[in-house]
């Protein structure tokens, strides 16, 4: 499996010069396994890797204990904030209200600080004191296990819902599914179809100036930073896709847009946060989609033994488990 982060182009340019300098000196194995970079004012610089937390000292080496690590200053966070927002907070009003920004490369930067309220609603965040860079990796072939279950024998794409707790590879799987459906899958004699992607948080396609920086194959149209509900309908009208891909369903408007897509004869692949099906059924709006059997396939992801592990694939029609990790099958790749 090939996974890659372009540190020089996507991460260092949005970190305060001092922090970028420290990370440049860090050991390659730390960077290769890095999942998150956590910055907190007055707290040590922390890199969360797949094999545990690593505190970095000022010379880039792993510190034996937190006290020996480099302590992030208020200035480091302020400079980083200026860099990720390109000195243009006005361009990220909506994102700030949601508490995160997405930077080039599709990395999501979560923010915490002091909320500013007006009329009981969050207007913006001030005094940002914590930042979490969630590093997005392009993992080619992440969808190899699931793709045979998503493409029907007649070449149609099943309406598929990916259920996953946070940090279990939901976005990575969606990205690779979109890429494989757009490229075609020769071993399944699937030639590829037109895919419409509504990328509300700019994470899947990692668009820069509206152009995807992630490799998504030749048949993809991306509507970047667009609210899902509006975006799905816009794409159906404007680009006539055969498959729509979007992430993190949750609001009522998303559900009615998905209903619209179904009636327009477009297949939908979407994701939702949750541990298992029982978790999802109990949820408002999304639960409704499950009860009405809107989807044909449910893919349940888990974080063990590694991120992105497909735990189960369920056929919705008769609730049959058609793939189980314990039994395990790998068909393509």
């Amino acid at each position: 499996m090939k996974s890659h982060i372009n540190w020089e182009k996507t991460v260092y340019p949005v970190l305060a010069p001092k922090l970028a300098g420290i990370l440049k000196e860090a050991l390659p194995q730390v960077l290769d396994q890095a999942m998150e970079i956590r910055l907190r004012t007055g707290r040590p610089l922390l890199v969360v890797t797949s094999s545990g937390d690593v505190f970095l000292s000022a010379n880039g080496k792993a510190a034996a204990f937190p006290q020996a690590a480099y302590i992030c200053s208020h200035e480091d966070l302020a400079q980083t904030m200026q860099l990720i927002s390109k000195n243009s907070l006005y361009a990220f009003e909506e994102e700030l209200r949601m508490g995160f920004l997405t930077v080039a490369g599709g990395h999501r930067v979560g923010l915490a600080g002091q909320a500013v309220l007006a009329g009981g609603k969050i207007v913006t965040l001030k005094n940002i004191s914590s930042m979490n860079f969630r590093l997005a990796r392009e993992v080619y072939s992440a969808a190899n296990t699931v793709i045979p279950y998503v493409i029907a024998q007649n070449g149609n794409i099943y309406n598929t819902l990916i259920v996953s707790p946070p940090r279990c590879g939901k976005t990575t799987l969606l990205r690779d599914l979109a890429r494989q459906i757009s490229n075609g899958v020769p071993c399944l004699s699937f030639g590829g179809v037109q895919v419409g992607l509504v990328d509300e948080r700019s994470e899947i396609a990692a668009c820069l100036d509206g152009v995807p920086t992630a490799d998504l194959g030749p048949r993809i149209d991306v509507l970047d930073s667009c609210p899902k509900a509006d975006g799905l309908l816009m794409l159906i009208r404007s680009m006539a896709p055969q498959v729509l891909v979007t992430d993190e369903l949750g609001r009522q408007a998303d559900v009615s847009a998905l209903n619209e897509a179904l009636h327009a004869g477009v297949s939908v692949i979407a994701s939702v946060h949750g541990r298992d099906m029982n978790d999802i059924i109990a949820r408002p709006y999304v639960g409704e989609l499950i009860r009405e059997k809107f989807f044909d396939r449910y893919i349940i992801l888990g974080g063990k033994p590694q991120v992105g592990t497909v735990t189960q694939i369920i056929a919705a029609q008769n609730n049959e488990v058609i793939y189980n990790r314990e039994v395990g099958v790998a068909i393509c790749g």
Partner: protein
């Protein structure tokens, strides 16, 4: 005799040129203030409607004009682009320093631009527009004053230059 004559001519020419160059600065100032107002209006559109990042908005807002005001906006934009950890105010200060000789604007205009720089990029679109509007109102006032100053001073400095040159030449002879 000839040497004296040539010397006198040179003194008169030098006086005239000094007068004309001083007059040109008075002529240039209202033009540049007007260009600043135009660029700030255009910057407002790029921020409010297109939501362009500040560096790009600054560069584009001055794309249609020529001269030092364009250089000021583009220089500030590229400073923000290349060293984004510095504030827009620092970028404007640096660009103003670099173009000090080319720009005909005076201290109050510089202060308005620095104040605008201090308030750029750190607030939402609605607030941003307020700061841009304020800068425009202030600059409009300065523009009116600059026009009056120009009308009063351009001719005066030109005559003063020629007459000063002549006077020195006569005294020397």
């Amino acid at each position: 005799m000839w040497l004296k004559l040539i010397g006198c001519c040179l003194v008169i020419i030098a006086g005239t040129l000094t007068g004309f160059s001083l007059a040109a600065r008075y002529n240039e100032r209202p033009k540049q203030v007007r260009q600043l107002i135009g660029c700030i209006t255009s910057l407002g559109s790029y921020i409010n409607y297109v939501s362009l990042p500040l560096s790009e908005a600054l560069i584009r807002s001055a794309g249609m004009i020529e001269g030092p005001v364009r250089d000021l906006f583009q220089q500030a934009g590229s400073f923000i682009d290349t060293s984004g950890w510095r504030s827009p105010q620092e970028a404007f200060a640096e660009a103003l320093n670099m173009l000090e000789n080319e720009l005909a604007i005076h201290k109050p205009e510089r202060e308005i631009m620095l104040l605008l720089g201090a308030n750029l990029g750190a607030v939402d679109r609605k607030e941003q527009q307020k700061h841009l509007d304020l800068a425009k109102v202030e600059l409009e006032k300065i523009h009116q004053e600059a026009i009056i100053a120009r009308d009063q001073n351009v001719k005066m400095y030109r005559y003063l230059g020629v007459c000063g040159g002549l006077a020195i030449a006569i005294l020397l002879v």
